[in-house]
Symmetry: C3
Subunit: 382 residues, 3 copies
């Protein structure tokens, strides 16, 4: 075997190279927006199409759009708690089906735009419920709430369309607040945990444990899906990485910024340990990372957005905590909307809402849509 | 007399038929928007014109537009409480006159668009006041509040015009909340009752009485005018029926849905009995029934709107109850605005805001405005 | 010396007349918007330009735009409290520099549009801080808060631009509320005074002292800059007078209306004495006086706006006081925005936002921009 001819060695190395190229190609096919899948799905059955657009919907929460990532995230949720996984699945299906029935734009439905709000509402209803797991009556508000998200998404989209703004997770934030207001900690049918604001004073505060705080950073990414376990949170982070490594970096960075912010404002230790301090920062950072073309400037703005989201989250949590409500992701959603409205140097990197892809692809497509923009402007001038 | 000739009998039956036809025609003339009245009123005195546009304003609250219905509603209010009737009359006059003075669009003023918010503000100020009836100082905030409604209506209309949305009862909701915030339960000049949220726990709750709950359904229609007596409420329902039987059906249905919602959320019994649980549902249902062309689809959406309005009302009432405020008709107004923004199958039945008539007339006019729409689009394309 | 010739006397009187004319001209050059300064500043150093646009920013708070007035106001603040003066200076510089760095429109930056919100945030942070003067850690939130104002100003401007509305002091109001919510009366790093709503009942209320109430009227103008001393307040009023005597009259009138409103609603005496009752009225009155061409009609609307602002301020203060927050200038800002949206007779006097100058200059320019409007309309028609 030692005396391989040069031709054989060349052959072997070529095979190996082509193999690794094929693996890489396969990975590349599975990452990003997987637009090639749409063509393939066109003549498949309704159930399969529903599954794919549901899975796309699952990833829309974290500004991704990839059915494989969606599968990983769902797996993470089932791993953390089967009941929560079930609720999430039902939520995404209920709202996607409502969108189909009420005649929403089919491209939007196929892209998963009508699934993610319903999913979040269901997950949070499950988390806040104090009736324990497998309390089947909860499915009633889960279905109703998820379905109503479609109405809010459609209406808010019409409203915000004037500024080319996405409805984002506003519907989820509105519906979960209305649900919690309707019920209450001692409601006879749907009781829920009372919520403690992060700024509440701790009578006998212990020392802050640095390791726990650092552990809170990846947990912050999991908390976007109301998941507080380390393993599933890392799996969710992996799902983001599969869609776009750049976005995963933004998520971690934002969560770290959020935790730092929490430290600077001396919030309750529990908030830091559980990742609740970090998730608004993560969302705020990802929003700028996802909706703008990556560059040094954009990156600085993403960090500023993470800081602003995290501070606004502490403020809103303290405000809404006075009436026993959580701030959910209001802060990040509002700040992200603000960043999209910004004029000045950031606006130059803005991608029109309908043309947003994975950050890496946006970088590639930049010249393309810039050319389109110029053409448009020229045709408008003429 | 028995031996009537055939000719005489024919004559008599013809007379009877023509008489009943004339009665029917007279009724038909009195129902709907009574647009023929406008031509007749053109050269009449200012006072008479003011009276007619005031009465039109009274009916605008329930999305109707008919001076006779307005007269019936005013009669119902005077029947329930002369003081309330007086306040309502003064409110509608004060805001209509303010609109004339501040130079608002005369077609809008004549259509009663500037009267209904002022009327609601006055009625609610009277209801919440704990100083008792015939407390003449109350006329001061009544005049000021009604006049301010014109400013809010005009400003909000400019704002919402971008989406072809009506200002609806937003001005009333804002002004009454500001008024209640300015004063308070122990205010030296304008004290008011403290408001109990519907979700407040009842320490010694009694059995629910089914008859009382059913009685709450028509009361829900009366509560739109802050009227809690059965007789006047039925008269108000009759006034809606005179304008449009379809709208009256929507009102009752919406109120029933609201009451059902209240039951499902275990609100206080008093809320159910008094009709307060029902009136937001009624308004939400009527809004869809009034602003969209009647069809099976629209009807389903109207019911969904009633449910959403009623749930949102419970949520907002619980929220605003924490600072001692009522939720008024915020829920129905917000949900109705959302429904008007909706895309998808409902949007196809949308009537442009300026062209809304009685639901029956909308059905007739459908083809007409559809043709207009197509023409418009064509001329825009060319 | 007695036997002066006629020629000499004529000469002397002419000199005197020319001298007084020159003084008057000099004063006229220093009043109004001082647009001639912009040409002169073009080739000056960056530091000098920054100083001028900072001083312009200082006056933007009171709808003025004059660097000399800005200097007077800063002097008044340093007179009242050197620490407050320093905070104000740092705030206006921090936000103006942030605007330069984030690439905001240079004409806007030069006009001081990005300075005034940052200044107000810094001043109010200083006033509410209970850590005492010269607490250097406060500079951290002062810098961050002032910088964030630029983001909000830019984003809100994009949003409100659709209705030709200015972002006004919305950014300040949002940031200071978020800051106060983040921290709290017992915050370990940034404690602040607890805020008492104006409607809070006084257990042992004393007689109202008329002189103190009258003293509160000029203080109301000073309270726009969170300054509660009589001398500095009068100096600030003088600065407004230098920019535009008409605007100064509006300020005083509005403050008087606000105080009257406070009396009619029986607010706490302290509110009246300190001028806190008056400053929202003053701002509401100045906004109409500044953004509309002066006339009898406009003047009546300005008074109505002052009343509405003052009542809304009492209402919002009572509402936000329940969670320990001040109402800042929310009321005046919202009411002013509403007035700008108004249709009817007031709208005819509206000046497009970009073309607003000192009220006296607006009167002069009226015919000019009216002509422009007609031309525009004509070119649109053709």
């Amino acid at each position: 075997m030692r005396c391989q001819s040069g031709a054989e060695m060349e052959e072997a190395s070529r095979t190996r190279a082509s193999f690794s190229r094929r693996v890489l190609n396969g990975l590349l096919l599975c990452s990003g927006d997987m637009e090639h899948l749409d063509k393939y799905m066109k003549d498949k059955s309704f159930v399969l199409q529903l599954a794919v657009c549901g899975l796309r919907g699952v990833t829309r929460v974290i500004l991704a759009n990839n059915p494989l990532s969606g599968g990983l995230i769902l797996a993470a949720l089932y791993w953390a708690s089967p009941w929560q996984g079930l609720l999430g699945t039902l939520g995404v299906l209920a709202s996607t089906l409502t969108a189909v029935i009420t005649g929403q734009d089919s491209v939007e439905v196929a892209g998963g735009h009508h699934g993610f709000n319903g999913m979040l509402v269901s997950l949070l209803m499950g988390v806040y419920s104090s009736a324990g797991d497998w309390y089947w009556w909860l499915l009633l508000p889960v279905f109703l709430g998820s379905a109503t998200c479609v109405f809010l998404f459609s209406g808010l989209s019409s409203f915000l369309d004037r500024w080319d703004l996405p409805a984002a997770v506003f519907p989820f934030n509105i519906i979960i607040i209305l649900y919690l207001l309707c019920t209450g900690p001692e409601h006879p049918y749907f009781p829920h945990h009372s919520i403690k604001p992060p700024g509440a004073l701790e009578p006998n505060a212990t020392e802050l444990i640095a390791l726990q705080v650092i552990r809170g950073i990846p947990l912050g990414v999991g908390q976007i899906f109301a998941c507080g376990d380390l393993g599933p949170s890392l799996l969710i982070l992996g799902a983001v990485f599969l869609y776009s490594p750049l976005l995963a970096v933004h998520a971690l960075l934002g969560s770290a910024v959020g935790t730092l912010t929490g430290l600077s404002m001396a919030v309750r230790h529990e908030s830091l340990y559980s990742g609740l301090s970090g998730f608004n920062g993560a969302l705020g950072c990802m929003a700028v990372g996802g909706f703008f073309i990556f560059s040094l400037w954009t990156h600085l703005f993403a960090i500023a957005s993470a800081f602003f989201s995290a501070y606004a989250d502490i403020a809103l949590s303290n405000l809404m905590g006075t009436v026993g409500l959580p701030a959910c992701s209001w802060a990040a959603t509002l700040v992200a909307t603000l960043m999209l409205l910004l004029t000045g140097s950031l606006a130059a990197y803005r991608i029109p809402t309908g043309q947003v892809r994975a950050p890496e692809r946006n970088l590639q497509l930049r010249s393309q849509w810039e050319a389109g923009n110029t053409e448009e402007r020229e045709s408008a001038d003429v």
